[in-house]
């Protein structure tokens, strides 16, 4: 198989999967009586039309980058973290607490503390699953998913109870949300008049750091080795349990930080639904980005576009909100299948067979081959 074929193969698979996604989505849209073509146009082009759209794409990309980076560290280390959603919520609780209960500090001190608190909260939440896995062999997929449920309940509890905005109690409306954070705990806006905040810079810098960490440091080497072949890592003297826990904590810290950044950069108070599924989309972004920072950043921007586009469709095309989620799902499914397919040499080989690559006319018989001097008798 040659380079040309590989390129052709890649193009075919991506084109086929994109077509499949579009077809799947179109069927659903037509079934609910919507204008399929218009919807696609809105999703893919409307967000790109003005500064508002462009900045909002990036606003959504920031938490996705941060979470996906953490997921990449965990997956590369051989532990599957499905709990970013819960870790993000744990991070938001911790960051809100830090911002509300450490008053009077200057911004240069408070903001870093708040962000660190978020990372710490997420890290501790993830540590539970990591320790359970390393010490007791508890399946991490199970434990992280369960911890998501627990975190969701805690989150609601804090917003309705200890952290609720006193104003809400006074006016009696009782919306479950925290008071507004002090200004010293806000991330600055990058472009005035938009919601784009300096969290973007944090995310990009961390993407570079994660790359350096995984591929240039000894700890990163250990984590990748433990993830790629646990037994060989053990034989080479790597303390696999320790690095499994470490990877999980790092992963959770990224999710917690994503929560803190979303909190201090966008909403500036803890509200319900603040995580808006980023914890799950982040996993898809990480896989789509090939578990590599250089892939994750563009993947996150692309998913930011999809999410925003879907929001806009909801408004301008009158497609029901849930249908938008279905669309996203179809796109994600198609993309991830395409990725798996691209990475599978046997599948590629099979396709080559289907396409019947031209064969060089081989020697007809063994005797001919012998006559050509291929064989000595």
């Amino acid at each position: 198989m040659n380079k040309g074929f590989n390129a052709l193969y890649g193009t075919i698979v991506i084109a086929a999967s994109a077509l499949a996604a579009i077809a799947m989505a179109a069927v659903i849209l037509i079934a609910v009586g919507a204008d399929a073509l218009g919807t696609f146009r809105v999703i893919l082009t409307d967000p790109l039309k003005d500064t508002f759209g462009l900045t909002e794409i990036l606003v959504r990309a920031v938490p996705l980058i941060l979470i996906a980076l953490g997921i990449a560290v965990a997956f590369r280390s051989g532990i599957l973290n499905i709990g970013a959603e819960g870790q993000m919520q744990a991070g938001i609780i911790a960051a809100t607490a830090a911002a509300l209960y450490l008053p009077g500090l200057p911004k240069a001190v408070l903001l870093p503390l708040v962000l660190a608190a978020g990372a710490l909260g997420g890290g501790i939440w993830a540590w539970i699953a990591g320790a359970l896995k390393a010490r007791l062999g508890v399946n991490e997929i199970l434990s992280t998913v369960m911890l998501n449920y627990i975190a969701a309940q805690f989150y609601t509890f804090f917003l309705r109870g200890p952290m609720i905005d006193p104003n809400e109690l006074q006016t009696g409306s009782g919306t479950p949300q925290s008071p507004r954070l002090p200004k010293e705990a806000w991330l600055d806006r990058l472009i005035p008049g938009t919601r784009l905040h300096t969290g973007l810079i944090i995310a990009i810098v961390l993407a570079v750091l994660v790359f350096l960490f995984l591929w240039r440091t000894t700890s990163g080497f250990r984590m990748r080795a433990a993830g790629a072949e646990e037994k060989a890592a053990r034989y080479a003297g790597i303390d696999v349990e320790k690095y499994i826990i470490a990877a999980m904590v790092v992963s959770g810290a990224f999710a917690g930080l994503a929560g803190a950044v979303e909190l201090t950069g966008v909403h500036r108070r803890a509200i319900e639904g603040i995580t808006s599924g980023y914890g799950f989309s982040g996993i898809v972004v990480a896989l789509f980005g090939g578990l590599h920072p250089a892939g994750i950043v563009p993947a996150a921007v692309f998913f930011g576009l999809l999410i925003l586009g879907a929001d806009m469709t909801q408004r301008s095309m009158g497609v029901p909100a849930n249908m938008v989620l279905v669309l996203q799902g179809a796109v994600i499914l198609a993309i991830v299948s395409a990725q798996m397919f691209l990475g599978n040499p046997y599948a590629r080989d099979r396709l080559a067979r289907r396409l019947r690559l031209p064969r060089r006319p081989g020697p007809k018989t063994l005797e001919d081959a012998a006559a050509e001097g291929g064989l000595k008798q």
Partner: protein
């Protein structure tokens, strides 16, 4: 269901297969007739496994075709090859470890898969039939992970025969077998040729001469020679294979033994099945000495090696490395104390398959001063190290950045050997170090082990090859049922004596 038609002739014509950067098979043609045994030999990375994978439909050739009984065959996958009656026992076994032998066989027998029921009883019957007919004893209820490599080999053979294979491909079937098991296998295969044709891949020319009618030698993906085994001596064949005469070096046994490096006393270790695999084992090893451990596999060799490397819990007893107690210490601490280890299972224990060759070459030392500063890896040094070792150990790969898992079996072994020998350990535990190596590479590794010995490294050589043990060791200890039953000085160790001791018979 496989067709029951006999395979009268099977031809490969002009098979060519290119991997990124390597031409693995270059216009290879060969033919096997009914009841014939063809030996396929060649250096590590010559393309033997790739060629057979093509015959099994696992890879598609870039060019060339397969002709069976005069008709062109197209195999889209292994199941098509099975259907045509071709079965292969792979170099790395294809068994599911946490399933029983019966389940593993049933897995491949599609006709036993009913919608709500897997017909294990039929599978069991089929296994009983095959093992009866070919005298291949297997325990159908044992879990694969509990079996020794030799036993797994037998299971693979039974499985393939259960699928109804009438054309057998055996990719280095003897590399993990004891000499007795090898002899038995060869006898068995000879009997089977009444019904079967065989392609037999091996690096041991003695076996090739004992079993095969014809031999085809591959060199760098091309057919280099094709002839009858009778007409050539093993030496000739070896020379044709490697391009030079092969002379395995011998230990001259002079002025061995400096200070004591390793002392093991009353060691008790449990095996995977919870039994006491080592039951009060003692041994001692000096600097500049090679101590051979001879024994039938499953007598505690694996557990001994693992315990020495800190990978298995020691129940009681002590292990002293240069006077320092290392029993139950962490693997890292033991490595740092000067222990080198060449493990048995190269694919999961010796290398990280998805890592590049250069990363695997520093798998133990990436955090040392040489390869890192302030916990940042020094990539240039890692590259240099890889280039140097690739050169020195003749690792055949298109580049040191390719993944180690894509190397040929023998070249993977060379990567591990290169890493462990170059680290300069004080004590080196080598478990079957030349398993799967071609003759040239074996010669080289033996020379390397002797060179390390001369430099004062203490080497514990665990092997089933009596030839290898007798050539290299200063002393040979026989392991039987978890204890050292006897230690012989090299000159007094004869094949016969070792054989008796390994079988647990009293020494005369």
């Amino acid at each position: 269901m496989p067709s029951t038609k006999r395979i009268e002739s099977l031809r490969l014509e002009g098979i060519t297969k290119r991997f990124p950067g390597v031409l693995a098979c270059d216009d290879i043609s060969l033919e096997v007739g009914a009841g014939e045994v063809l030996a396929l030999v060649g250096e590590n990375g010559a393309g033997k496994t790739t060629l057979m994978n093509i015959l099994m439909g696992l890879y598609q050739p870039d060019y060339g075709r397969i002709v069976i009984n005069g008709e062109e065959a197209r195999f889209r996958g292994p199941s098509d090859a099975f259907a045509a009656g071709i079965g292969m026992v792979h170099q790395h076994f294809m068994l599911v470890p946490n399933m029983t032998v019966t389940e593993n066989v049933a897995l491949g027998l599609k006709e036993l898969h009913h919608p709500f029921h897997l017909d294990l009883a039929s599978a069991r019957r089929r296994i009983a039939e095959v093992s009866e007919r070919h005298q291949l004893a297997v325990n159908p209820e044992a879990y694969v992970w509990q079996l020794s490599v030799g036993e797994q080999q037998r299971v693979e053979l039974v499985k393939t025969l259960c699928f109804g294979a009438r054309f057998l491909i055996l990719d280095e079937p003897t590399s993990a077998l004891t000499p007795q098991e090898t002899d038995e296998l060869i006898e068995r295969l000879k009997r089977m040729t009444a019904e079967l044709s065989v392609i037999f891949i091996s690096h041991k020319l003695g076996e090739v001469k004992a079993l095969c009618d014809r031999v085809t030698i591959l060199r760098q993906g091309r057919v280099a020679f094709n002839g009858r085994t009778q007409d050539h001596t093993s030496g000739d064949l070896a020379a044709l294979m490697t391009g030079h005469e092969v002379n395995l070096p011998r230990n001259a046994c002079v002025e061995a033994c400096g200070e004591q490096r390793l002392k093991v006393s009353a060691l008790m270790v449990r095996g995977d099945r919870g039994n006491l695999a080592l039951n009060g084992l003692d041994l001692e090893l000096r600097s500049g000495e090679i101590l051979g451990i001879a024994g039938v596999s499953g007598n505690g060799q694996r557990e001994l090696a693992d315990a020495l490397a800190g990978l298995r819990k020691v129940e009681s007893g002590s292990i002293g490395l240069c006077g320092e107690e290392i029993a139950n210490r962490r693997p890292r601490a033991i490595i740092d104390a000067g222990m080198g280890y060449i493990p048995e299972d190269r694919h999961t224990e010796g290398i990280v398959p998805s890592f590049s060759i250069k990363e695997n070459l520093v798998l133990k030392d990436f955090a040392s001063q040489r390869f890192s500063t302030a916990s940042f890896l020094r990539l240039e040094r890692i590259d240099e190290n890889a280039e140097e070792l690739r050169e020195r150990f003749d690792i055949r790969a298109s580049s040191t950045a390719t993944s180690a898992g894509s190397l040929s079996g023998g070249n993977i072994q060379k990567v591990i050997l290169a890493r462990e020998l170059a680290r300069g350990p004080k004590v080196l535990v080598a478990v079957y170090p030349t398993r799967g190596l071609d003759m040239g590479a074996e010669e080289f590794i033996h020379a390397q082990l002797l060179e390390r010995r001369a430099e004062g490294v203490a080497i514990l050589l665990i092997s089933e090859e009596l030839e290898e043990l007798m050539n290299l060791s200063d002393r040979i200890a026989v392991i039987y049922k978890g204890r050292i039953s006897k230690v012989l000085e090299a000159p007094e160790a004869t094949r016969r004596r070792l054989g008796m001791l390994m079988a647990g018979l009293a020494d005369e």
